[in-house]
């Protein structure tokens, strides 16, 4: 399976839960799980090749000009992480199915989870650091959604915000660091960068890049001093915590440090920064963790501590330490995910996570107890479990490392960290599960169903198996991964008995010390609680809140919701910039001859000027200003026609008609006059701004028209190639559907979104307080009788077939002569629109076969299909091919694939205009206006007295 597909599968899978939730919660979980399983299978199929030492690549050019390509790579490191992400993801999906309550929206949960999973898989498979950055930011965003999943809990929202702020800031720093790194290496491809180690370390920018990248890694992996967000993220549902904080999100920082290890590691700066941060985090996290009474908080700080441990090992910069780091990543993922899930089970069953209120669960929840006991003992480093193996190796590495010139300092601190680690692991077992059964649990606990404990039990099984047979199960994996990290071949030998070496005594000291700490826990906890210490959340809030206030004040001053203010700020800024540019550069009068003023343009010009002047003075009367705007629009259409742009003229006329009709409909519900709201001084000021902008624009246009273009325009290319490349002689249409087809596609989507927004707004309007105001509305004019007069009804019915025929004609000839999908769509829409006008909404909707939403959607899909079709022929999006066909008795005519695209445009335009129309009409009905199902109000053919 292509690596790109493996990374894309979770994203595609994210579409499923939202749909499948309608089929039930099991279907939803199975849909998410299937996508994950498929991706995992695809990944494992590559595993043999990776174990043989191959490095797999998938390269897709995306934006090669920027150095941003969708390049994916799979080596040992990627395989390990992708395997963890997808494998534990699968377990989490199973676990979450049983964990989430009925009231939790499960579709949303799985969608977020799959998005996150995709982003993480993307990070570990990226071979391009810019692509990696995109996925990196995606993890920040999707983890924000996951952490804040319980939107009703303030802690959840605050925790999500804090996580996003911290990791997002780190991400920003990392973007800068990665760009510097790419600049030094001369490529954004990891494969290239990894070969440029000596150049990068010799560069004067090395330290800057290192610090910036490490900021990203440390914030993501919760390293001191950025460790505080992780415990606050525990407000998330437990499956999220288990996933994010055992195997994925927080490991992203570690992954990146490991990935860039050959390039960045091995220098003094690296050692000083990474090893120190890791060491401090390890000790600090372990100490704080011991005194946490919340189960998940304890696990959170233990995660912080273990992340510190791995960071420290990576920081040592030796190959042996890297091997240990890799091994511990595997071990930590297994026992920590199991522990988190087990904590969730306890919370789920006993309705509390407070260790002080628990105890004695051993008899009530034997299965959960077994799982926790295995995982916690592994975390404490008790032989023969897997945590013991990696901890022993870590202590050995620590013993051989000199920190700050003091050979005893680092081993001592590492042992201290291990001691506290043992203490909290034992506490977890002792204070929750051992002791007498209590009778005051908030809810009588018992073991959950198999579905819920299956996942943690599986992981606990792994803990034991890896502990017993480390070389058989993980030896090859660790060797391949460590080889990928160090960029060489790593020597891996994991075994239990190292002999009477210092690490053994350090380990023994840690276990002994841990037991002592646990025994003295009561008095120590009281002392800890009484000791003054900085509270991270308070400090964080003290920094963030003033900053947020400042930003809000600034934004409110500029964007206070009044359109006039935005317009004024924008206009003043543009005028000032223009004036500054004009004053700064030299001015040479234009060289072109001015053309003489002929009567026809003069009349058009006079019309425009008169309308503009009238608008400025009479704009308070909204009906009059609408008429004036219509006149301006038609004059512009005439101008297009005068300058031989029939396509533009046609479009302009049709758009003008549709706009005026729709605006008239909207005006029906608005006051007919704009009230005077601003003072005279203010109007004077606004007038001055407007005059400055108008004069500036006029001067600019005048200056431009007196000059030739500084660069050759693209028009000549279009004119020369429309027939050869696009197969059409109507250059405008060829530009729309072929040369700039991408733009057109974007534009019709914007149109469609606009129409849907209008629909959504009117729907909202029909419900909330505005609906009550609408109902209480007193129309400012009496209602007229005979709203649907016979003459109009008959005329529009007669016109409809002609309009449709002309529409089809314009559509078909569009590629070669004025016309095309857009114009035809507008025309047909207006043809239908007059039916609405003539006989009213209810009559028209009763005869409407298709939903306008569906018309828009089908149009967008057809346009997309028309564009994608050219991929089949291995051509870029929207390359049209064309041919000439003869069907007797017709003349020879042309068929182009661009017509499919144009058909999509046509449908979207029709749907958009009519959806807006029917949305606006609904307001009237909601406001209590009557609608009739008969075609006309007074039907002369009906018997007298029975008029409809």
């Amino acid at each position: 399976m292509s690596l790109a597909l493996i990374a894309a599968l979770p994203f595609l899978g994210a579409l499923l839960p939202g749909l499948m939730i309608r089929a039930g919660r099991n279907a939803c979980a199975i849909a998410a799980g299937s996508a994950t399983l498929l991706a995992l299978t695809g990944l494992l199929l590559h595993a043999p090749a990776v174990f043989r030492g191959e490095v797999l690549h998938t390269r897709i050019a995306w934006l090669p000009q920027l150095g941003l390509d969708a390049n994916f790579v799979l080596d040992g490191l990627g395989l390990l992480f992708a395997g963890l992400i997808l494998g534990i993801g699968l377990l989490i999906i199973l676990y979450a199915r049983f964990y989430l309550a009925k009231s939790d929206p499960m579709g949303q949960f799985y969608t977020y989870l799959m998005l996150f999973q995709g982003a993480m898989t993307g990070i570990v498979l990226s071979d391009n650091i810019l692509l990696l950055l995109i996925f990196w930011e995606l993890t920040s965003l999707s983890s924000f959604l996951l952490i804040g999943y319980w939107k009703h809990l303030p802690e959840g929202r605050q925790g999500a915000r804090m996580a996003l702020t911290v990791t997002g800031m780190g991400g920003l720093a990392m973007i800068a660091g990665m760009l510097i790194l790419g600049q030094i290496a001369g490529s954004y491809d990891l494969s290239v960068i990894l070969t440029k180690g000596p150049e990068i370390q010799a560069s004067e920018w090395y330290l800057t890049a290192l610090v910036l990248i490490l900021l990203g890694c440390f914030t993501k992996s919760a390293q001191f001093p950025f460790h505080f967000w992780l415990p606050h993220a525990m407000a998330a549902p437990t499956p999220v915590s288990a996933y994010l904080h055992s195997a994925t999100m927080v490991k992203a920082g570690l992954f990146l440090m490991a990935r860039l290890w050959p390039v960045l590691a091995g220098t003094e700066e690296w050692f000083a920064l990474v090893a120190s941060a890791g060491l401090i985090t390890m000790v600090l996290g372990a100490v704080i963790g011991l005194y946490k009474n919340d189960l998940k908080a304890l696990l959170a700080f233990s995660t912080v501590s273990h992340l510190g441990l791995i960071t420290m090992l990576l920081g040592f910069g030796t190959e042996a330490a890297a091997v240990v780091a890799v091994f511990h990543i595997i071990n930590h993922a297994t026992f920590k995910a199991a522990l988190f899930m087990a904590a969730g089970i306890v919370d789920h069953e006993a309705h509390t996570r407070d260790i002080r209120r628990l105890g004695g669960l051993r008899r009530l929840m034997p299965v959960t107890f077994a799982i926790v006991a295995v995982a916690a003992l592994s975390m404490a480093g008790i032989p023969p479990l897997n945590g013991f193996l990696s901890k022993e190796m870590m202590l050995e590495e620590a013993f051989e490392t000199v920190w700050f010139g003091l050979p005893w300092l680092l081993p001592a601190l590492a042992t201290l960290g291990a001691t506290f680690s043992v203490a909290y692991s034992f506490r977890l077992v002792a204070h929750v599960f051992l002791g007498p059964v209590r009778d005051d649990y908030p809810h009588r606990p018992h073991d959950p169903g198999f579905g819920m404990w299956a996942a943690p039990a599986f992981l606990a099984g792994l803990v034991v198996l890896i502990g017993l047979l480390p070389m058989t199960l993980t030896g090859d994996l660790v060797r391949v991964v460590a080889g990928a990290v160090t960029g060489g071949t790593a020597y891996v030998n994991i075994y239990h008995w190292h002999g009477f070496v210092p690490a053994l005594f350090m380990s023994l000291a840690a276990v002994g010390g841990g037991l002592v700490l646990l025994g003295l826990h009561g008095p120590l906890a009281r002392a800890w609680d009484n000791a003054p210490r900085p509270e991270a959340k308070v400090i964080f809030d003290a920094i963030v809140e003033p900053a947020a206030r400042l930003a809000r004040g600034f934004t409110d001053a500029l964007h206070d919701g009044a359109f006039t203010r935005y317009a004024a700020i924008f206009t003043v800024a543009v005028v000032a910039a223009g004036a500054w540019a004009f004053a700064g550069g030299g001015h040479v009068p234009g060289a072109r001859e001015t053309t003489p003023v002929t009567p026809v343009p003069a009349v058009g010009w006079l019309l425009l000027v008169t309308c503009a002047a009238l608008l400025a003075t009479m704009h308070r009367d909204r009906l009059v200003s609408l008429v004036l705007i219509g006149v301006v629009g038609l004059t512009v259409a005439l101008t297009f026609a005068y300058f031989s742009a029939p396509d533009l003229a046609l479009t302009q006329i049709l758009v003008e008609v549709a706009t005026v009709v729709l605006m008239l409909l909207a005006l029906n519900f608005l006051p007919k006059r704009t009230p005077v709201e601003s003072s005279g001084v203010r109007r004077l000021r606004d007038g001055a701004i407007a005059a400055a902008a108008g004069l500036g624009a006029a001067a600019l246009a005048y200056a431009l028209m007196l000059r030739d273009f500084a660069f050759p325009t693209i028009s000549d290319y279009h004119l020369a190639n429309a027939k050869d490349l696009g197969g059409g002689t109507n250059v405008v249409n060829v530009i729309l559907v072929d040369f700039r087809g991408y733009d057109t596609y974007g534009e019709i989507l914007v149109l469609a979104i606009g129409a849907l927004v209008i629909f959504a707004l009117t729907e909202a309007l029909l419900r909330g307080p505005a609906a009550r105001r609408l109902l209480a509305r007193v129309p400012d004019q009496a209602k007229a009788g005979d709203r649907h007069p016979m003459m109009l009804v008959v005329a529009t019915r007669l016109a409809l077939p002609f309009v449709l025929m002309v529409g089809i004609y314009l559509f078909l000839r569009g590629h070669n002569e004025p016309g095309g999908g857009f114009i035809a769509g507008l025309l047909v829409a207006i043809g239908v629109l007059i039916q609405y006008m003539a006989s009213g909404l209810a009559w028209a909707e009763a005869r409407q076969r298709a939903d306008w939403h569906a018309v828009i959607a089908v149009g967008a899909l057809i346009a997309a299909a028309g564009g994608i079709g050219s991929f089949l022929a291995d051509r870029p999006f929207l390359t049209s091919s064309f041919g000439y066909v003869t069907i007797p008795p017709f003349e020879k005519f042309e068929l182009a694939t661009a017509m499919v695209f144009d058909l999509g445009v046509f449908l979207v335009v029709v749907g958009v205009v009519l959806l807006i129309l029917s949305s606006l009409s609904r307001i009237g009905i909601r406001a209590g206006e009557t609608v009739n199902v008969a075609p006309m109000d007074i039907d002369p053919s009906a018997p007298r007295g029975k008029e409809r």
Binding site: L792, R922, T930
Partner: protein, 131 residues
């Protein structure tokens, strides 16, 4: 033949010009809206029609092909002009005239402009839900 055609075309154009002028003058000069309505609808329609007929003859005789554009233009003019006039008159009556100012219509019927038709009938529009 050509001379006759030229004379005919010229005559039609003059006629249309005269009608156009009269129409515009009437629009300016007539006292109130209902009478003023006659000027553009009748005179201007005929005026434009003259030009169109002239154009058709011109193309048939001098350009050797028959042009149908003018027929279409005529069709649309004839279709839209009365409807426009009808609506202007309707809104004028609606806004400016009270029902008792008008003479009763023949046959005991009511004036359409004042007849409250369709009231009291609420149609549930498909898709509209009461919130």
């Amino acid at each position: 033949m050509e001379l006759a055609a030229e004379i005919l075309i010229a005559a039609l154009m003059v006629i249309s010009g005269v009608f156009g002028l009269i129409g515009s003058f009437g629009l300016l000069k007539l006292p109130d809206l209902m009478t003023r309505l006659h000027a553009p609808t009748k005179a201007t329609t005929l005026g434009v029609g003259g030009v169109l007929i002239a154009s058709m003859i011109h193309f048939a005789i001098f350009a050797d092909h028959i042009s149908f554009h003018e027929l279409l233009i005529t069709l649309f003019l004839l279709l839209t002009a009365p409807i426009t006039a009808h609506f202007i008159a309707k809104s004028h009556i609606h806004r400016e005239v009270r029902a008792d100012e008008l003479p009763p219509p023949a046959g005991g019927a009511a004036w359409g402009c004042f007849e409250r038709t369709g009231d009291g009938r609420r149609i549930e529009v498909p898709g509209e839900r009461q919130g």
